[in-house]
């Protein structure tokens, strides 16, 4: 089953001509840590974004033991993250948390992958 994807890799409904995620203002990046993964960056847009391996996720990360809907990121005036409770627990700055506000430079552990959040 093939989906329609935007340039940034977001799955789209065939009736959409524009990606609803990409048209939202850019608010930051999720940068994967590790020597082998230099340059692997996921964009964070305003609004609600699911992080996971599912096609419906706005930030889709394949591999790394991530659940289909691993975490839920909300970016408005402030940025916050909620663990969806599927799969490995979410660690923020090496602390296991279910819900937390994020600031620029926080390190997230999602499944087996580590990310640093960069906010504008």
């Amino acid at each position: 089953m093939r989906f329609k994807y935007c340039k940034e890799g977001h799955a789209m409904d065939p009736s959409w001509k524009l990606c609803p995620v990409c048209i939202a203002p850019l608010k930051g990046w999720l940068v994967r840590l590790g020597e082998k993964h230099t340059g692997e960056v996921y964009t964070i847009h305003e609004g609600k974004s699911f992080i996971g391996s599912g096609a419906e996720c706005e930030i889709r990360i394949l591999g790394g033991n991530l659940a289909r809907q691993h975490a839920f990121l909300v970016v408005s005036d402030i940025c916050s993250i909620v663990d969806m409770g599927n799969g490995e627990p979410l660690k923020i700055n090496n602390a296991v948390l279910v819900k937390s506000a994020l600031i620029d430079g926080d390190v997230l552990l999602l499944g087996d992958f580590s990310f640093k959040i960069k906010l504008l």
């Binding site: 009736s15 524009l18 609803p20 609600k48």
Partner: protein, 453 residues
């Protein structure tokens, strides 16, 4: 010298070397006690230059002997006996059979159906022949495919009879009455599936009734037949009937003509009639009756021969019913041969089907041409293909819709749409990103226009 050697060789042919004799050439050179040179044989001339007269040839001496006529007569008798006996052995001692192929239906080529009648030397129909005795050839090529051969009488298939009767002025009285009697008898022998059409020979084939079962014919209509003053245009009438016959549904058709064979003032010539008969492929059976004369009866015979039908001459007018009954029996006692022709392609051309019957004490052969029809795709096949195509398209559309619904569900989209722009929305969205970040586009404007109207 060479001439002498040649002469010796010639003599060897006449007097072959017998065992016990010396094979010396000198012995034979001294035929009749004189040297060959002295006899002048081999072209050796005497010292005088002229060829010396030799002895008379052996054959001539044989004929001059006292017993010569007797011996000669014996020899001739022996030769005659030898040739007669040799010819007798070489000749087929089996009795001949006449095989007539009435009709060949090749509309569903390569499936061909032929109706054949087998008659013995006395003209009696031979029924009950084993299917194994039949052999087939198409265009002189042995047809090895299996054929089903069944007597026509065992099938429930009907025959479309078209009977042409003469009702000209000269037929008034007994000739017409006997024809009517024959028709009534004929109807009595018809089966349920048979169809009967009656026409009169006039300026054209005038239908009395058409395509009626025997039970449905009103006898009054036959009784009401009366002689008229119209010219008997036999050819025109026959062509008219042959052109009507193919329109009917019954496969097997037979045209029966009761006439004296006279044709007066037909628009069509005999050649044109022949062409139409060959094209129609319907057997024409004819009963010849003598009213004014017999000179025109040959017309009927030719027509019948041309189409694979048969001609019967009714010596007396009272024989007409019996003749018609005989034709009916002949049709009923025919064989139905269903054959799949594999050796010929459907090319729309005329081919010859040859039917042989090889029995222990009888042998017969018959042939008739047929057209290897290029069968167009039947209408029902076209409709079936069209329906299948439509169903396939519908199935594909349905499959596409189902797959798209499943895909949307995986994306988290069910039935939710933006009330402003009408775009599909994910269930998790609190707002429509298109409306929020792009502003409501054309769709909203259209909706507003509709609302205003």
């Amino acid at each position: 010298m060479g001439r002498i050697v040649r002469g010796v060789k010639m003599l060897r042919g006449v007097f072959p070397v017998r065992p016990g004799r010396t094979g010396k050439t000198g012995m034979y050179l001294r035929a009749e006690g004189r040297p060959l040179a002295a006899q002048g044989i081999g072209g050796v001339r005497s010292s005088h230059g002229a060829a010396a007269p030799g002895p008379k040839p052996r054959k001539a001496r044989f004929l001059r002997s006292k017993n010569a006529p007797k011996k000669f007569f014996r020899l001739v008798c022996a030769f005659v006996l030898f040739f007669v006996s040799a010819r007798g052995f070489s000749q087929d001692s089996r009795s001949p059979l006449t095989v007539r192929i009435d009709q060949i239906i090749s509309g569903d080529f390569p499936d061909v159906r032929a109706y054949a009648v087998v008659e013995d030397a006395r003209g009696e129909v031979v029924a009950g022949l084993s299917p194994g005795l039949f052999g087939f050839r198409v265009d002189s090529l042995e047809e090895v495919s299996r054929a089903s051969i069944t007597p026509f009488s065992l099938r429930e298939e009907g025959v479309d009879y078209s009977v042409l009767v003469s009702a000209g002025g000269v037929m008034e009285g007994e000739p017409l009455d006997f024809q009517k009697t024959a028709l009534f008898q004929f109807m009595g022998g018809m089966r349920e599936a048979d169809r009967f059409s009656l026409y009169t020979i006039g300026e054209e084939a005038a239908p009395v009734f058409e395509e009626m079962p025997a039970a449905g014919v009103d006898p009054a209509r036959i009784n009401s037949l009366a002689a008229d003053r119209s010219q008997p245009r036999l050819y025109d009438s026959l062509i008219g009937v042959l052109r009507r016959a193919p329109r009917r549904g019954t496969e097997r058709k037979a045209v029966i003509v009761i006439s004296d064979g006279r044709d007066q003032g037909s628009r069509f010539t005999r050649e044109q009639l022949g062409a139409v008969l060959a094209e129609a492929g319907v057997p024409v059976y004819a009963i010849g009756i003598r009213v004014l004369g017999t000179q025109s009866l040959s017309n009927l015979n030719e027509i019948a021969d041309l189409t694979g039908g048969s001609y019967i001459y009714a010596r007396n007018l009272g024989d007409i019913p019996a003749s018609l009954k005989r034709i009916h029996q002949r049709i009923m006692q025919s064989y139905v041969i269903d054959l799949r022709v594999r050796s010929v392609r459907a090319d729309g051309l005329t081919h010859t089907l040859e039917l042989t019957i090889d029995e222990r004490d009888a042998y017969g052969k018959g042939a008739k041409t047929f057209t290897a029809v290029i069968v167009p795709v039947p209408a029902w096949v076209k409709w079936a293909v069209l329906a299948a195509g439509v169903l396939l398209v519908i199935a594909l559309v349905l499959l596409h819709v189902i797959l798209r619904i499943r895909k949307r569900r995986r994306l988290g989209i069910t039935r939710r749409r933006c009330p402003d722009c009408g775009r599909r929305m994910k269930d998790s969205w609190d707002f429509c990103p298109f409306c929020k970040y792009l502003g409501c586009g054309k769709k909203k404007k259209r909706r507003e226009k509709k609302g205003d109207a």
